[in-house]
Symmetry: C2
Subunit: 178 residues, 2 copies
């Protein structure tokens, strides 16, 4: 009677999320998805894709018909839509609200899309809805933010960028992996 424990914890890894989203994108774009197509899209070998997809099939997220065409189960479809929605929301937020350059926004979004909680994603979406609502205060805000270019004061007590100290200046491009 402890089956719910294993069932409840359905952690989808970064890799699994990408495989599932790849299948959805292939289905939407070409109408079919095979192991090789997923591998090509993700730029990994067929062998790797085969093994990962075997696991996803075993977990009931990915389906396969008699001609080896892949599909998504109801759960898999849900995961795909969830991840894609988060990706879309975050990218829009980075670019439209924060003014991050598109390429960098893509990189950041890809890394965190499957990690952000639904609650937080919905908050970001709410934020974007407000920004686009046409409410005068959001318009003013947009303009003022775009013009605002004050660097961090460096004063620990007043610097709002972080509580510890003005550490932002030290943020190098020490790209932290995975």
């Amino acid at each position: 009677m402890d089956a719910w424990k294993e069932f409840e914890q359905n952690p989808i890894s970064h890799s699994a999320a990408h495989h599932i989203v790849a299948i959805k994108e292939l289905l939407d774009e070409y109408g079919y998805a095979r192991v090789s197509d997923v591998a090509r899209l993700l730029e990994i070998t067929r062998g790797s894709a085969s093994i990962t997809l075997k696991g996803l099939k075993g977990r009931g997220l990915v389906t396969e018909d008699d001609r080896r065409f892949l599909g998504l189960s109801k759960t898999g479809e849900h995961v795909a839509r969830s991840v894609i929605a988060k990706k879309t929301i975050l990218k829009k937020f980075f670019i439209d609200a924060l003014g991050v350059e598109e390429h960098q926004a893509d990189i950041d979004t890809c890394k965190i899309e499957h990690l952000v909680s639904s609650e937080t994603a919905e908050r970001v979406a709410q934020f974007l809805r407000f920004l686009d609502s046409g409410d005068p205060s959001s318009e003013h805000f947009r303009k003022a933010l775009a013009e605002f270019d004050e660097p961090c004061s460096g004063d620990t007590s007043s610097c709002p960028c972080c509580a510890e100290a003005c550490l932002v200046k030290e943020l190098g491009d020490d790209e932290l992996g995975s």
Copy 2:
């Protein structure tokens, strides 16, 4: 003459980032950090911590004195400060700007703190500085955002929350792992 390649790519994994930050926190709080202390803080076994830290010592991020007390090299210190700054900025952003509940903000922050680029983190910090700047438009914005409670319209063409469709509604709490 290709040494720069291996040298240039210094990807710090999620795990490595946590180990390094743990050392910094222990040093700040207790004045020393040993393998066991790190393991306790991260709630992993001494064995696991020992092996991970061996790797970090080998990569020149973590130091160890003759009495087995751990420290951080200049690079390690830099990584620690960078990750902590990102963590601080993101958490503040989630809570102050988005209104995410603190516990959830902690979870989300922990997952993405080491993944967000310096560029994006700095943009978020800039955003926070503006919010706290006292600029009237930011004050108005704050208030209006707090009161704004319009759900997603569900209309694909006008819904700002995502370009594809109003997928946010489908965001379940299917916690995606790692």
